[in-house]
């Protein structure tokens, strides 16, 4: 998974751009919940009005966007931490 880091760091723009409005809206709401520090169950409940009448596939695609964003952020945070450690190195 470490070798995967450079790919995960790229924002998943394509995933977002090729998606339709409803999964985008759901992904936006769920990311806002994640940013607000909400737990998975809270995020799901907060987004429940948006999910009403959405298909399993649309919800899965929204989850894929959220997953990609969160993993990209985690990868960027790792890279930033590595960079700081290198900067602080006496070498």
């Amino acid at each position: 998974m470490r070798a995967n880091a450079h790919r995960a760091a790229e924002p998943p723009v394509e995933l977002w751009e090729r998606e339709s409005t409803r999964p985008r809206s759901l992904a936006t709401a769920m990311l806002a919940s994640v940013d607000a520090g909400k737990l998975t169950c809270e995020a799901l409940e907060a987004a429940s009005p948006l999910m009403r009448a959405m298909t399993r596939s649309q919800i899965a695609r929204a989850h894929a966007i959220v997953r990609s964003h969160v993993l990209a952020r985690r990868s960027l945070a790792r890279q930033e931490l590595s960079r700081r450690l290198v900067d602080r190195s006496p070498e």
Binding site: N4, A8, L44, R56
Partner: protein, 222 residues
């Protein structure tokens, strides 16, 4: 205390006890890495995962066929999410709830006002079935058997998941799951999930993922 309040307290106590019986990782456990082996609809593939509580699973398995990747991602995240620490007060404990059937008996049904129309069936103090509405579907998860994880907690072993049309109740698909967990130091971690999924048109898919060579930075409490 009025009867409706009594019912609320009874429901809350029963559901709290049932949640407490489900094994979850201790708060100090930061997750694990493992090799993942998948035998799916698209064939055999192998990779690695980095699983952390409360986070999406980082999956590095380029060779996994597109037909299996969403299944693999969903199942890994489901297994990790259900092991991640979650205080009752942060989950169902936040909501009003009612005991809607079987008060005080061997079985109970509890309705949770969480916006998802969730219902829990409890049997002998353990969760036997969960039902909630997600999108346009009513999803039912039936726990068919359990495996002991600690002296007082279990992990689900045989699970059946039904997806039904939220309006008509017509069955769309069902999935039979069998899970195995293994110890890693003092914690139990997912080791295998086998799945048989059947769609409404009869199409069936068998998949299995195995996790081996688990590793954690810290595997027992200091």
């Amino acid at each position: 205390m009025g009867s409706s309040t009594t019912t609320q307290v009874d429901a809350d106590t029963a559901l709290r006890d049932a949640h407490d019986a489900v094994y979850r990782w201790p708060a100090w456990f930061s997750g694990f890495t493992a090799e993942v082996i998948v035998d799916g609809a698209g064939g055999h593939s192998r990779g690695t995962i980095d699983a952390r509580p409360g986070q999406p699973v980082d999956l590095d398995i380029d060779a996994v066929p597109d037909v299996d990747r969403p299944w693999l991602t969903d199942q890994l995240e489901s297994m990790v999410t259900h092991r991640a620490p979650l205080a009752y007060e942060d989950g169902d404990g936040r909501h009003e709830k009612q005991l809607v059937a079987g008060p005080g008996g061997r079985e109970a049904v509890i309705r949770v006002d969480d916006g998802l129309g969730s219902r829990y069936w409890l049997e002998d103090g353990a969760i036997s079935q969960i039902e909630r509405t997600i999108g346009d579907e009513r999803v039912t998860v039936a726990i068919q058997s359990r495996a002991a994880a600690t002296a007082h907690q279990y992990v689900a072993r045989d699970i059946t998941v039904f997806w039904r049309n939220g309006d008509t109740g017509m069955l769309r698909s069902l999935e039979l799951l069998r899970d195995d967990h293994v110890p890693l130091g003092e914690v139990m971690v997912p080791a295998r999930r086998r799945s048989l999924r059947i769609e409404a048109d009869g199409a069936a898919t068998v998949r299995e993922m195995r996790l081996i060579a688990h590793s954690a930075e810290r595997v027992e409490e200091a």
